[in-house]
């Protein structure tokens, strides 16, 4: 087993922690802790990218890592915290199906994700190819979180967590996309978060709550 070098072990460890955090977010009941878990996930992603950068010497990965840290571990959680405080969102997340069932569905999704990613991992030659399955699993878990939650803010956190998973996929399969593309993606994410913030105020003004099921009235009649 010493055939896998130490750096790869660390990368695997970080990837496992990211997956664990994705499940923890799925099981979390409180909004503020959810945002903190998301920040933690961003920080772990930063550490993972940094390790890959140090091991392989790819210069643009340092930039990606810095971008991840600033955007996903610091800026976005800060914006979300401010939103929660200003909008006075109360503490509890409201799941549509109960949490143990959600976790079981999540497990099934993880198994599916691992299966889908296996042929791709076998073809990759990067040091981090094992983590592609985990990245896809994080994306699917975030998607599950988005569709089984009532509060708008948890859907946003799910969306951003999906971004995290995609970034991990990009880093694990291909050592990251070209820098210009990554900058573009980061810009999109940031602008998206800002627009969402504006949007939340509009929703709150109109409905006096950020509960999604106020917004299920449009039908085909």
């Amino acid at each position: 087993m010493s055939s896998i070098p130490l750096s790869a072990q660390f990368i695997n460890l970080f990837a496992a922690i990211i997956l664990l955090l994705a499940f923890a977010m799925l099981a979390q009941r409180r909004v503020l802790q959810l945002i903190d878990l998301f920040a933690l996930q961003g920080a772990t992603l930063f550490l993972s990218t940094l390790t890959v950068a140090l091991t392989t010497g790819q210069a643009h990965l340092y930039g990606s890592a810095a971008l991840t840290l600033v955007l996903k571990a610091i800026l976005l959680p800060w914006i979300l915290h401010r939103l929660v405080r200003k909008l006075n969102i109360k503490g509890e997340v409201e799941p549509l199906i109960n949490i143990p069932t959600t976790m079981l569905v999540g497990l099934v999704l993880v198994i599916i994700a691992f299966n889908v990613a296996l042929p791709i991992s076998q073809l990759a030659h990067t040091i981090t190819r094992g983590t592609l399955g985990i990245a896809l699993a994080v994306v699917m878990l975030a998607f599950l979180m988005m569709i089984t939650r009532r509060k708008a803010i948890t859907q946003v956190v799910g969306f951003l967590s999906m971004e995290n998973g995609l970034f991990l996929a990009a880093t694990s399969a291909t050592y990251g996309m070209p820098m210009v593309v990554e900058l573009g993606i980061a810009l999109d994410v940031l602008v998206g978060a800002i627009i969402l913030g504006v949007f939340f105020f509009q929703i709150r003004d109109q409905f006096d709550s950020l509960d999604i099921h106020h917004m299920e009235k449009l039908k085909d009649s």
Binding site: M1, S2, I4, A15, A16, G106, F114
Partner: protein
């Protein structure tokens, strides 16, 4: 042929288990008291209790069947067997070939069945209540425990506990995220199986919150003594199992008496640290509502399965 030294070594390990188990329970009780700023009961308190109980008369209800009288002995026997199998001092004792992790789970299950049936035997409502809750916890904890065992067994390529210990103790330093997940899951399961906070409070006598205590309400005298001893043996066995899976360094590889003696200090040290941690966990957490217990164990199951999946995906060569 079993060698004489091996046989003596095995008996010695069993005797040590019998002697140390109540000490472990006493130590945990002391730590809890310290952490909660109470005056601690003396370290030998469990021994005093066992001594007292053995000298009291047994009071049996009229409707008690033979099952009721036999159950404490079965439970005690199972726990002694478990302690004999789990390699606490050495991996090469005569019982070691029988030390299959899956068989161990079966042994624990057997004990659980008997005590639950005995609880329902008298026909009081509290006994039945306790029995049902115990089976609920057990039903949910066993899959989690099995998953933990599978994860660890995959690393060692065998379900024999002795082989697992040998493989894990003698490899190079290697970060296994799967072991970390499995370790946390195992902790959850041990807390549930040993009737500790946050699943069950061993010190409670509020009837509506009891699980383990509710089952043994009707027992007295030497039956109760055996059951209490068996409970502490169960805690000892689980602790040794956890140490064998996750902290296997220091367990002797041979069966000679000096080797066994050398392994004792390290074992005592590890158990002491484990006792402090257990007391810490019990103090920090509040007891869960019974309806939240499935969630707790579901999390354990989830972590264990995650550990298994992570093992398959990340750590094996594709």
């Amino acid at each position: 042929m079993i060698s004489i030294s091996g046989l003596i070594g095995q008996l010695f390990a069993i005797a040590l288990a019998l002697a140390l188990a109540p000490l472990l329970s006493g130590w945990v009780g002391m730590c809890r008291a310290w952490l909660q700023s109470r005056t601690a009961p003396p370290l030998w308190q469990p021994y005093y209790m066992l001594h007292k109980l053995f000298h009291k008369d047994v009071v049996l209800a009229e409707g008690a069947s033979s099952l009721f009288r036999v159950a404490p002995f079965v439970m005690f026997g199972c726990m002694v067997l478990a302690c004999a199998i789990v390699p606490s001092l050495s991996t090469d004792l005569p019982f070691a070939p029988a030390a299959d992790a899956l068989a161990l789970v079966g042994v624990f299950g057997l004990a659980r069945i008997f005590i639950a049936l005995a609880a329902m035997d008298i026909g009081t409502s509290f006994g039945t209540l306790g029995g049902r809750r115990e089976m609920l916890i057990g039903f949910l904890a066993e899959p989690a425990l099995l998953m933990v065992i599978f994860t660890v067994a995959m690393i060692a390529q065998s379900t024999s506990v002795a082989t697992i210990v040998e493989t894990l103790a003698h490899r190079d330093f290697y970060i296994h995220p799967s072991l970390a997940f499995a370790g946390v899951a195992f902790t959850f399961v041990s807390l549930a199986e040993n009737a500790r906070v946050p699943v069950d409070n061993p010190a409670t006598h509020l009837e509506l919150t009891m699980i383990h205590e509710a089952m043994i309400l009707e027992y007295s005298g030497r039956h109760l003594a055996l059951i209490e001893w068996a409970a502490s043996l169960k805690l000892y066995a689980y602790s040794c199992l956890g140490l064998a899976f996750f902290f296997p360094w220091g367990i002797a590889a041979g069966d000679s008496f000096p080797a066994l003696l050398a392994a004792i200090p390290l074992l005592v040290l590890k158990l002491a640290i484990g006792g402090v941690l257990l007391a810490g966990i019990e103090t920090i957490n509040a007891k869960l509502r019974i309806f939240r217990a499935p969630e707790f164990l579901g999390t354990a199951f989830l972590l264990a399965v995650l550990g298994l999946l992570v093992r398959l995906l990340l750590e094996t060569k594709l």
